[in-house]
């Protein structure tokens, strides 16, 4: 048995101490889940192990022999491979699947490598991860789930002892995730040690043999999975603050229709949707990845403008760009936070006031003092954890960045708020804040459209749930009749009589 052991690992970036002495051990043939809120240090720890960062202190040993890991090459030599969260950064999309899978032969292999042999090797590796794709196909044609498996196939092309997976199911549908789990179990049988980073408790309880929880750079829980409960894990992630899932029993009083669309064509999917939101209503839009949720949300906001008009409080408006949407009273929190939602190189104040900058402008000049005072009021109200309001968003954790991405729309005081996967990649604590914020919006007579693939969240607080499948709205459920099974039934195309993947 191979034992990889990290002892009192320390790491800091400038002023910020990320790891304050972390012990972590993984044995071959075990699935060791690593959990923690955003900013707890999970990714940093794994980047140290995979040679991406150099540690400030601590020891890494392999079978009690000390290892020097300063570069990714060192980690690879020790048999440690990492499957990163953003799979596109680790693969070359312009090459074929075969070339990507056999990437290591380019580095260490012979100078000449026949295509015949390459395809054969690639095919074998793809079989091992259960992919039935043509190795000659360009990688760019693969789906996200396929790319992930290609990356795993690439990792196991060498004799590896340990593999690190960073939130591999973040963008996968349930079925794709199940397939991934079977691949991982197969690897486990072949005596590979798996380090599994995830935010999703159910899959951790299902898959892992051991759990380590990090909080603020310390280890707060380290146990056999069978010996601990979900509540225990959540408590270790959040500290002693109690976790209360929002379960609002009482029905909200709903007002008139705020936003309504009929046969509204969505350019991203080529389909049409009809939906409406009333005052004080939270409408959840469920759907698996690829169901067309993001496309619909973007079309409603004019990010990818539709040729059809919407009805806002009964008034017909054509939303041809985001500016029109904003002046009509719509706000949009996009899925890709860092790419679309916030400006990472700008500070909290500048991010929050961006949509309403005109309010803080006199004769073209920005009234910085007023801008700052107003922004700081919102920072407090949103619970954005930042030392000062002039801190760049890059230095904040994902959850706090998300709060800024949402917060800027609170300043606009619109009528309808569209959220696209607002809890993606943020920790449980920040999730609570986001839910609370959305609930407050509804209490203040705003309409909320909540697009997500997290069914539990929808069941927790939506008044009505629409389920999307293949770009269309496949079903509508009220709060009282909605269950996970019913939602999944529609989301997987079950209403067609056949289940399509």
């Amino acid at each position: 048995m191979t034992i990889l052991s990290l002892t009192s690992i320390q790491k800091s970036f400038g002023e910020q101490i990320v790891l304050k002495g972390v012990d972590f051990t993984v044995n071959s043939g075990e699935v060791h889940a690593l959990l923690g809120a955003n900013g707890a240090g999970k990714s940093t720890l794994m980047k140290i192990l995979s040679g991406d960062y150099e540690r400030d202190g601590g020891i890494i040993t392999l079978n009690e022999k000390e290892l020097t890991i300063k570069t990714p090459a060192h980690a690879k030599a020790a048999g440690i491979e990492m499957v990163v969260q953003e799979v596109d950064t680790a693969l070359v999309s312009s090459l074929s699947i075969a070339e990507n899978v056999t990437m290591n032969t380019f580095i260490t292999g012979p100078a000449f490598f026949s295509w015949k042999k390459r395809y054969k090797v690639a095919q074998e590796l793809l079989n091992r991860v259960g992919l039935t794709l043509d190795p000659a196909m360009p990688l760019s044609q693969c789906s996200l789930a396929e790319k992930q498996l290609v990356l795993i196939a690439k990792a196991i092309s060498r004799n590896i002892s340990f593999i690190i997976l960073d939130e591999p199911t973040a963008a996968l549908s349930t079925k794709e995730a199940q397939h991934l789990f079977s691949v991982l179990r197969e690897l486990q049988k072949q005596n590979v040690g798996i380090i599994y980073i995830s935010h999703r408790l159910p899959e951790i309880m299902e898959l892992s043999t051991k759990v380590t929880v990090l909080k603020d750079g310390y280890v707060t829980l380290q146990k056999e999975t069978s010996a601990c409960t979900s509540e225990e894990i959540v408590r270790s992630m959040l500290g002693n603050e109690l976790v209360e899932l929002l379960n609002d029993e009482e029905d909200r009083i709903l007002g008139d229709n705020l936003l309504e669309v009929k046969q509204f064509s969505v350019p991203g999917t080529g389909e049409t949707v009809s939906l409406s939101v009333r005052e004080g209503e939270i409408v959840g839009v469920a759907g698996l990845v690829g169901a067309g949720k993001t496309e619909t949300a973007r079309a409603l906001f004019g990010a990818d403008p539709s040729k059809d008009s919407i009805y806002m409080k009964g008034r017909k408006i054509r939303i041809s760009n985001p500016q029109k949407a904003i002046s009509a009273g719509i706000g949009f929190v996009p899925e890709e936070r860092r790419k679309e939602g916030i400006l990472v190189d700008y500070n909290v104040v500048e991010n929050l006031t961006l949509p309403v900058l005109k309010q803080f402008t006199k004769f073209g000049f920005i009234q910085r003092k007023r801008e700052k005072t107003e922004a700081e009021k919102w920072i407090k109200q949103l619970g954005i954890k930042t030392q000062k309001s002039s801190l760049l968003l890059n230095h904040l954790s994902g959850g706090n960045q998300q709060k800024a991405s949402i917060g800027k729309w609170l300043l606009t005081d619109g009528d309808v708020y569209i959220f696209d996967e607002p809890t993606k990649g943020i920790d449980v604590g920040a999730k609570q804040d986001v839910f609370q914020c959305i609930k407050n919006l509804a209490d203040n007579k705003k309409g909320v459209l909540y697009f997500t693939s997290e069914i539990q969240e929808l069941l927790a607080f939506c008044d009505r749930i629409l389920v999307m499948y293949d770009g269309k709205i496949a079903g509508e459920l009220t709060k009282n009749e909605a269950t996970t099974e019913k939602i999944m039934h529609y989301a997987t195309g079950g209403h067609y009589g056949t289940v399509r993947s």
Binding site: Q222, K223, P334, E340, G341, L343, L357, F365, K408
Partner: protein, 345 residues
Amino acid sequence: MAQYVHKEHVENDINTTKLSLQEKIFPFLYRYGTLLVILLTVIGFSLANDKFLSYQNFTDILRSVSIITLLAIGVTISLIVGGFDLSVGSTASLATVTSAAALVLYRQETIIAILIPIAIGLLVGLLNSFFVVKVRLPDLLATLAVMYIINGLHLTFTKGFSIYNNMPLSEGGTAPGVFLPSFLFIGQGEIWSVPVPVIIMLIAVIVVHVILQQTRFGRLLYITGGNEEAARLSGVPVQRYKMYAYLLSAFFATLAGILLAARIGTGQVSAGAPLLMDGVAAAFIGFSVFGAGKPNVIGTFVGAVLIGILLNGLTMLNVPYYAQDIVKGSILIGALAFMYYEKKK
């Protein structure tokens, strides 16, 4: 096996190691490195040549950098929106030639010789923004193509000859007009013994700085360059702001071209071409000033001054002009290396 590891002493260890000399010096150099280099260069040149540190030489340096600074302001604005305007050099050449042509070939007044190049320059800016915003070509390629087109246009117009007083015309006789004294005053005059180009440059630097830092217009230019998609989804008309940036870029290039014509008193063809790279260098050196890490006008000005001081000093020390580019390149590398080193951390 559950552990609650709270090693407070670890924190202290990290705090003490942080105060190492290296950790303290790098941030200082990152912020003030460029200014330090200027200071050291001035001291060095003053020791080597006693004529270096005089009011006359000081104004000479500023005068020599005024044209580059104006051009570099244009480059800076294009960089702010995340673009890159390579056509500023040829736009300056075009402005030089058109203002000279207006004066010498068409006997126009000074004001016309200023307004016509500005109007034509803005057309070039529109052309750039058309390719970048509407056709959606990458900035570098679009402005490279426009650079060639403008260069070819102004050479075709002059048939490759420069325009000067009393020049012979192909249809016989000499040119009817001359460079008017009021026009030459822009490039050669002095007000209270400060050269006019220097005054124009300083006004431009201050006005653009205030606009960029204090106004909504400036903020939105920066935001557009910071993350175009996030800006668009926050309701910023990013395409319009990109167009403004290219118009401003062309405007400042034109201003530089007019100043150049007034300075040398001829409509020299291709005069703007060598200015392009100096302008780009000044803008990029500007990134490093005060550790800004992004394009900014004060930095650009400092960058231009640094280049000016070096060229002036090296000339005084009889370093041949062809060797001076080595120094320019080294300074640029030094400034960029510091910036990217700090960013990587």
